[in-house]
């Protein structure tokens, strides 16, 4: 992309502006379609997290927990949340990908992927909350368990920033949604990796030290994404 400052509007009539834009033209490499960029990004994140789990070692009860239906249900919805919200973040980042010509709506608008991502998150939270209702606070409120929340933030923040960098290349317009979904997706991936490593199986532990931090990262992504994606966007459009 050109590093030169693009001509500014209002200073010249439209035909002259077009002429100056044509003169400013440099070859650019078009971005890959968003499914490929999504796959590449999360392959890298997944690989990084998998290496981390290998280094830290799987949880001691790994084999027995694999036989628990609740573990599979929770992991399944965590993975669905990570996948759907990540896909939606990449889809939203490309202008016109969720819209038809002249703003006419199509089926994708009626059943947007981002809505399914949020539904999946709510089901994931619902499953853990139901278990929490029957288990109560049993075995889930020890200060040392703050480490899990810390781990989620520690991994999610840099990965989310990297994701914002990737997303902004495609010029997203829905900054809040893109930030929220992207950060939520990254945090969900981290939570999946953490669940392979962390021996804490109590519902209270999962709710307060895994799920709430994931939600927190999502909200943080919404706030920071609005600022970062919009700010960077404005900077790019003016320069």
């Amino acid at each position: 992309m050109s590093r030169k400052r693009s001509p500014q509007p209002n200073s010249l009539p439209t035909p002259e502006l077009i002429e100056s834009l044509v003169q400013d033209l440099n070859p650019v490499r078009p971005l890959f379609v968003y499914p490929i960029r999504f796959a590449l990004f999360f392959l890298l994140v997944g690989l990084g997290l998998f290496v981390w789990v290998l280094l830290k070692g799987f949880r001691p009860d790994f084999h027995s927990v694999l036989e628990t239906p609740s573990f599979w249900a929770e992991m399944g919805f965590a993975a669905a949340t990570a996948f759907l919200t990540g896909w939606a973040a990449f889809q939203l980042s490309v202008p016109g990908e969720t819209e038809s010509v002249e703003g006419k709506k199509d089926l994708r608008m009626l059943f947007p992927v981002r809505a399914w991502g949020v539904v999946s998150l709510l089901i994931w939270m619902g499953i853990v909350s139901l278990r929490f209702q029957s288990e109560g606070m049993e075995g889930g409120w020890r200060p040392m368990e703050l480490k899990c929340a810390q781990t989620i933030f520690l991994f999610s923040v840099p990965f989310s920033l990297a994701l914002f960098f990737v997303l902004r290349r495609a010029q997203p317009f829905r900054w809040g949604w893109s930030g929220f979904l992207g950060a939520l997706s990254v945090a969900s991936f981290v939570a999946i990796a953490l669940q392979l490593e962390c021996p804490g199986a109590a519902a209270a532990h999962l709710l307060f030290f895994h799920l709430l931090p994931v939600l927190g990262v999502g909200v943080l992504g919404l706030l920071v994404g609005r600022f970062l994606l919009r700010g960077l966007l404005a900077e790019r459009s003016s320069g």
């Binding site: 992309m1 693009s6 001509p7 500014q8 509007p9 209002n10 439209t14 035909p15 502006l17 077009i18 002429e19 834009l21 044509v22 003169q23 400013d24 033209l25 440099n26 070859p27 650019v28 490499r29 078009p30 971005l31 890959f32 379609v33 490309v94 202008p95 016109g96 990908e97 819209e99 038809s100 010509v101 002249e102 703003g103 290349r169 495609a170 010029q171 317009f173 790019r236 459009s237």
Partner: protein, 216 residues
């Protein structure tokens, strides 16, 4: 319909070539889409000057985002998505600028440092006179918002109007005041004449506003 699809395919081809650095294709593309964009924008922004400014803004955005277009995808949705968001952004920016102008204007008008006591009294009398000539809703909205320092929400509760109705009424009132006191807004100059030398000859043309305003 067939023509539209054909031109969209043509645009895709031109954009793909432009991404490789072909200036001729890029020039053809920009010239052709600027016509389409003008129609698109003019149907949403009715002031020709502002619409032209917005079209240029969209062309710049398309230029700076051209790497995000994938040649295998349709060009129309990509271009119109950029256009739609730029129009929204444009309104947002213009709204902020107008708010800021109004804020500065009223700060100057009511600033005790700027005027002597006699001037302040005279000014107050003049402001009151113009305010009295405003339709009731506009007058109350301006008085409560700018002179009583109430929030839009408070005024809306007081006058039993929606917040947007309060904003619209106040905005119309500001335009009249600005026009009378020689404000800077181009829009107000277009709507009303500036204050004449012979005061008695000046009659605010409120007929239009009166017909729009209905008494509760």
């Amino acid at each position: 319909m067939g023509v539209a699809i054909q031109s969209e395919k043509q645009w895709s081809t031109w954009m793909a070539e432009a991404q490789k650095g072909d200036r001729q294709c890029y020039s053809l593309l920009l010239k052709e889409i600027s016509v389409v964009l003008k129609r698109f924008v003019y149907s949403r922004i009715h002031s020709p000057d502002l619409a032209e400014e917005c079209v240029q803004d969209i062309l710049l955005k398309i230029h700076s985002s051209r790497q995000s277009y994938h040649p295998n995808r349709p060009f129309g949705p990509w271009m119109f998505a950029i256009a739609r968001h730029r129009i929204v952004d444009f309104y947002r920016k213009k709204g902020r600028e107008e708010d800021l102008q109004e804020q500065n204007y009223f700060e100057t008008l009511t600033d005790a440092q700027t005027y002597s006591l006699e001037e302040q009294l005279e000014l107050r009398e003049e402001v009151n006179r113009v305010l009295r000539s405003l339709p009731e809703k506009q007058r109350l909205a301006v008085l409560l918002l700018k002179f009583e320092g109430m929030s839009v929400k408070e005024v809306s509760a007081q006058l039993d109007l929606s917040e947007s109705a309060v904003k619209v009424s106040a905005h119309r009132g500001y335009q009249v005041l600005k026009a009378y006191f020689g404000g800077e807004s181009q829009a107000s100059r277009r709507i009303l004449p500036t204050r004449p030398q012979n005061e008695n000859a000046w009659e605010p043309p409120f007929e239009e506003s009166h017909s729009e305003e209905t008494q509760p």
